[in-house]
């Protein structure tokens, strides 16, 4: 079943067309990778899909419970509430807040605490807070971060920060998760851990994942399907095996050995 | 839960403590510092002359002064500090009406009279129900008093029928003057324009006025802006008389305007050493110059008088208790001050002659006493 359908998505910055007429689709519970040379427009595509920037042209539709939902031109928070979550290429955690708060914030829209309920500290407030606290701990446990709950995000080591970004995105209870270079700055061992984790998330949460990554060991290991972008255009699509052999991809991206 | 309900502060020991609630910093510091100088001069002269006579004994004055930052919260705080901690029996200042209003509740609670050298707002001395404020006094004119006098003078003596007004919109002083003037003036007010205290450039407003027909320009406001207005008006070729109130009565007006520009200027004032035979004023100006090495101005003189009014009240009542001083102040009669001979009216406003001074080429050339 097609979950997200992207048609003719285009974005130009002044004279430069960073994303040009891209059409793609993501199916339910699929793990797809997006690769391409530096500056190909991958991050821009993520930004378009999540509403951080507004497309010049094209449509994005989501198969929501209530039928089809058009997402382009919507605000990022509505898109996030509709079930699209992401991580950032340059980590953007809430640095000055605790790990737990980082995750709790992602639950804001699903959290039904009322203003007066919390101002007056009604018993129901504590009940809801306790439940949330438990949910956060459960999530953190999956990533082996339960002991970091009270630490400030900025004090976490780099690798842990990347993982926290993923936890935070998951806490929005997304249908689709976009990961922008989750393995950047990790050493091979950490990357291997991450690979396992990504698979686990996909299964456990039954979500669709679209992943940008330059580390081919990760991509070829987990992706079911791969899109390849160059100069803003899709130049190839297929299984890892197909893509790896594609001469266009080799020439533009993989290079001789890979 | 107050310790001062027993009837005000009693004088004790060999000194009489009076308070100074002064605007020494903040926006009104220039006025507050003038008030400080006038008060200090008066206190030192009184003490040099032996002090204040109470029941045959001569007691020295002690001035307890505090800075209120020209901030109303601090004004109130200083008032309670002076009244309840220092236990002063009377207070000089604050000098601005707004601050007086903020200080008054605390002084009233402690039954300590407050005498302001500069709070000119009409309603300052009356309560909401129309009764007089028992502990509020002033040594200056109230706004309407001068406004009226000026309006009469312009119409009747100068025979000018068309007046343009350039008023300070940010002070109640200027607003009060404007209102009183407009009410009293029998001629025509052709135009009213506003500026804000602190403005420096009046060319736009003056250009606008220049096109209108008027016989005199009335500038309710203080010398710091009025000086600039005179200067810019004259440079622009506005030659009509410029009239003002005691806000003009400071040597700085001429300094800022420049001698040549300061011509054809009329203003109401309290004291005038030159034209009248006021020996007190002349002596004061000399003493002031000797002590501070600069020319005296209105506000220091008013503060000086305020201090002497307290002395007078004490000596008349033969007691330096705060409630007695209040009584003494409300009964003040024919007090000979630097700023005129003062009699306190029922509303605690000093009755004294208004003098109209005329300035030509930076020099005061004429002074007329009007009623």
């Amino acid at each position: 079943m097609t979950l997200l359908d992207v048609k003719g998505l285009t974005k130009s910055f002044g004279g430069l067309t960073a994303v040009s007429d891209v059409s793609l689709h993501l199916d339910d519970n699929e793990l797809v990778a997006l690769i391409g040379p530096n500056g190909a427009g991958k991050t821009t595509l993520f930004n378009l899909l999540t509403g951080v920037i507004v497309p010049t042209e094209g449509t994005v539709t989501l198969q929501a419970d209530s039928g089809l939902e058009v997402l382009n031109k919507k605000k990022p928070y509505t898109i996030a509430q509709a079930g699209l979550a992401r991580t950032f290429q340059n980590i953007r955690l809430f640095k000055g807040l605790s790990v737990e708060d980082n995750v709790l914030i992602a639950m804001t829209s699903k959290n039904k605490e009322g203003f007066f309920e919390s101002i007056f500290r009604l018993p129901s407030f504590y009940k809801k807070e306790d439940e949330l606290h438990q949910q956060v701990l459960d999530l953190l446990k999956i990533f082996d971060m339960q002991d970091d709950a009270d630490k400030l995000a900025k004090n976490l080591p780099y690798g842990a920060q990347r993982r926290l970004e993923i936890v935070r995105a998951l806490a929005t209870k997304p249908k689709i998760l976009f990961l922008d270079e989750p393995a950047a700055g990790m050493n091979p061992e950490e990357t291997a851990d991450l690979t396992r984790l990504i698979r686990q998330i996909q299964e456990e949460f039954h979500i669709t994942i679209l992943l940008i990554e330059h580390d081919m060991s990760l991509v070829m290991n987990v992706a079911e399907r791969i899109y390849v972008l160059e100069y803003g255009q899709l130049i190839a699509e297929g299984t890892p095996e197909e893509v790896q052999k594609d001469p266009k991809v080799i020439k533009a991206y993989l290079g001789g050995e890979a | 839960s107050s310790s001062a309900t027993n009837g005000g502060n009693k004088q004790s020991g060999n000194t009489i403590k009076i308070g100074g609630n002064f605007e020494l910093s903040g926006a009104a510091a220039a006025y507050g510092q003038a008030m400080q100088r006038g008060t200090e001069l008066a206190v030192s002269q009184i003490n040099k002359d032996g002090g204040v006579k109470v029941n045959g004994k001569k007691l020295k004055l002690q001035l307890v002064q505090k800075d209120n930052k020209s901030d109303n919260s601090q004004v109130a705080s200083v008032a309670s500090n002076l009244a309840t901690q220092s236990k002063v029996v009377a207070s000089v200042g604050p000098i601005t009406s707004g601050a007086d209003l903020a200080a008054l509740p605390n002084y009233t609670k402690a039954k300590v009279p407050l005498i302001t050298p500069g709070g000119t707002q009409d309603s300052l001395t009356v309560q909401k129900n129309g009764k007089v404020q028992p502990y509020m006094f002033r040594s200056c004119f109230e706004d309407s008093y001068q406004g009226k006098a000026l309006a009469k003078y312009v119409y009747s003596n100068m025979k000018l029928k068309r007046v343009a007004i350039l008023a300070d919109k940010s002070t109640d002083y200027a607003q009060g003057l404007t209102k009183a003037f407009k009410k009293e003036f029998k001629g025509q007010v052709v135009q009213v324009q506003y500026y804000q205290a602190g403005d420096k450039d009046f060319n736009t407003l003056l250009t606008k006025l220049k096109g209108k027909k008027f016989d005199a320009l009335f500038v309710p406001g203080y010398y710091s802006e009025a000086g600039l207005i005179v200067k810019q008006a004259r440079q622009m070729g506005i030659t009509q008389p410029i009239v003002g109130a005691d806000g003009f009565a400071d040597p700085k007006l001429v300094q800022i305007a420049g001698k040549k520009n300061a011509s054809n200027i009329y203003y109401t004032t309290h004291f005038d050493p030159k034209a009248t035979n006021n020996a007190k004023a002349t002596a004061y100006m000399k003493a002031y110059k000797a002590k501070y090495n600069e020319q005296a101005g209105t506000f220091d003189a008013l503060a000086y008088d305020a201090t002497y009014m307290i002395k007078d009240a004490i000596e008349n009542e033969k007691s330096a208790d705060s409630t007695k001083i209040a009584t003494g102040l409300s009964n003040l009669k024919n007090f000979k001050g630097v700023t005129g001979t003062i009699t306190m009216d029922k509303k605690h406003n000093p009755q004294k002659p208004v003098i109209i001074a005329k300035v030509e080429n930076g020099e005061e050339v004429q002074a007329t006493s009007v009623k």
Partner: protein, 235 residues
Amino acid sequence: MLLQVSDLAVNYGVIHAVKGVSFDVNEGEIVSLIGANGAGKTTILKTISGLMRPASGKIIYEGKEIQNKKSQKIVADGISQVPEGRHIFPGLSVLENLQMGAFLRKDRDGVKADYAMVFERFPVLKERRDQDAATLSGGEQQMLAMGRALMAKPKLLLMDEPSMGLAPIFINEIFDIIQAIKKQGTTVLLIEQNASKALSIADRGYVLSTGNIILSGTGKELLANDEVQKAYLGG
């Protein structure tokens, strides 16, 4: 010996990030520092460049102690750096960024020749010459950071994870470029997560773990080392 670091210790407040590290770099070499996240690699480079002061230890460059010198003096002496996280100047164009790289240089002709050299090495930068550097893609910014460092015409080039975020095809190219830089006579001190690539082009290497050097040797030796294989090469 071009650079000699001895017993270097650096703290962030109470955190001891580098705890008595010694290593050296000979003229004309590529020396690689590898180590896990948080091992203290970036901190060492910052200290060499004079952005941080060591708690103890010495840094000797061309026979002179530089650990207490100001950064501009160190740059003037010929050490330049491609910092972690790129730190290009946003708001300035690509070309202006490169100009800034040559800030201390007085030889106009040399500078001109070097623009050409950089543009040749990184053709994308030429295409994006007048674009605001802030809007470059991650990889493009990395190239710009390298180009800018080269514009200073350094004797010693410090590189902090230059391959981070680069496409595979470009990673190879980057390492080629590093080798080319060496051939031109510039000495390189290289920090990399991509340990296998780094060690394969390095003359010598050091392995850093929580602020201490635990292994050293030639690039080949380290590549073959079991421990290194396990911990850093995913083997």
